[in-house]
Amino acid sequence: MFTRDDELDKEVLEVLRQQPEKNSDGTSWKLKLGRKYLTKREIIDNWADDEKLRGDVRKLLLGLKLHLLGRG
């Protein structure tokens, strides 16, 4: 049911890769999380070096997975 961090990392990166870089109105897609307000490119570029960012984004996706488990 629960995946290891590296497996979750792969899953998160896959979700991020599938995330369009542009919104439907042509503006850049951004994620506001904590003090950060980042584009898809900035998240992917910082992924390897920014442990906090990895942990925060990982937690986001894990939260959704747990929510879906709770929904049955």
Partner: protein
């Protein structure tokens, strides 16, 4: 009374959301806002003295013990939290639900709607986030209820919205929405006790002196060290 400072990209968005929320309830209550004046500590405190609002709304960056203003200095912090006594407080800011919220009821605040961690959103679902973040204040004022009486409906609305976003393959947006709903808390007299402090010293101080004793220690720390500077929405 609505304070929604604007000094960066994120607060431009939160200001828009606040304006929309106030528009939706303006036929129910008189709104005093700071859209055309600086939402800074002195102005906000003066307005609190002059207007005696029933509701205090803050959309902007927050941190555990601070609601930040246009000048990037605290509007409300531990030292003046009691100025909100007798009011319903509704915050869309990061973390203030954790620190200020925990002390709010003991300072006479009727109820405090806040987030106990960093708020997240994505720009591909700004309408949905606006709708969910505004839901509580709009529902409470329009229906004449307390925030504590609408929080679970608001949370469910957020989860339902997250499910719709997921079905639209907006996975990051859905994830952020679920997180926001998970960290939403309302404190009120007679409600559940705030979570125990994480720090052992704070737990000890709280068990010895109660929430007001812990507030005093934290306020002294704030006076000595300055308000924490982490600016999260």
């Amino acid at each position: 009374m609505a304070a929604a400072p604007k000094f960066d990209e994120v607060t431009e968005i939160s200001l828009e959301w606040c304006v929309q929320a106030m528009d939706e309830i303006s036929d129910k209550i008189d709104i005093f806002d700071f859209y055309d004046r600086e939402a800074v500590r002195s102005q906000v405190l003066q307005a609190l003295d002059d207007k005696f609002p029933q509701w205090f709304v803050h959309y902007d960056h927050g941190s555990e013990y601070v609601m930040w203003g246009d000048d990037e200095k605290p509007i409300i912090d531990l030292s003046n939290l009691d100025r909100l006594a007798g009011m319903h407080v509704y915050c869309l800011n990061c973390l203030s639900g954790k620190g200020l919220g925990a002390h709010a009821v003991s300072k006479g605040v009727l109820e405090y709607w806040g987030y106990v961690d960093s708020v997240a959103f994505t720009t591909d679902a700004l309408e949905e986030f606006r709708d969910v973040f505004n839901y509580g204040i709009v529902m409470a004022v329009v229906e004449g209820k307390w925030l504590k009486d609408v929080v679970e409906e608001a949370r469910q609305h957020g989860y339902d919205t997250a499910d719709r976003l997921r079905e639209e393959s907006k996975i990051m947006a859905a994830s952020a929405m679920v997180r926001d709903m998970n960290i939403l808390h309302v404190y009120y007299e007679g409600g559940p006790e705030p979570p125990e402090p994480e720090c052992w010293f704070s737990r000890l101080a709280k068990s010895l002196f109660g929430w007001n004793g812990l507030w005093l220690l934290r306020m002294l720390r704030q006076k000595l060290l300055g308000p924490e500077r982490a600016r999260n929405l």
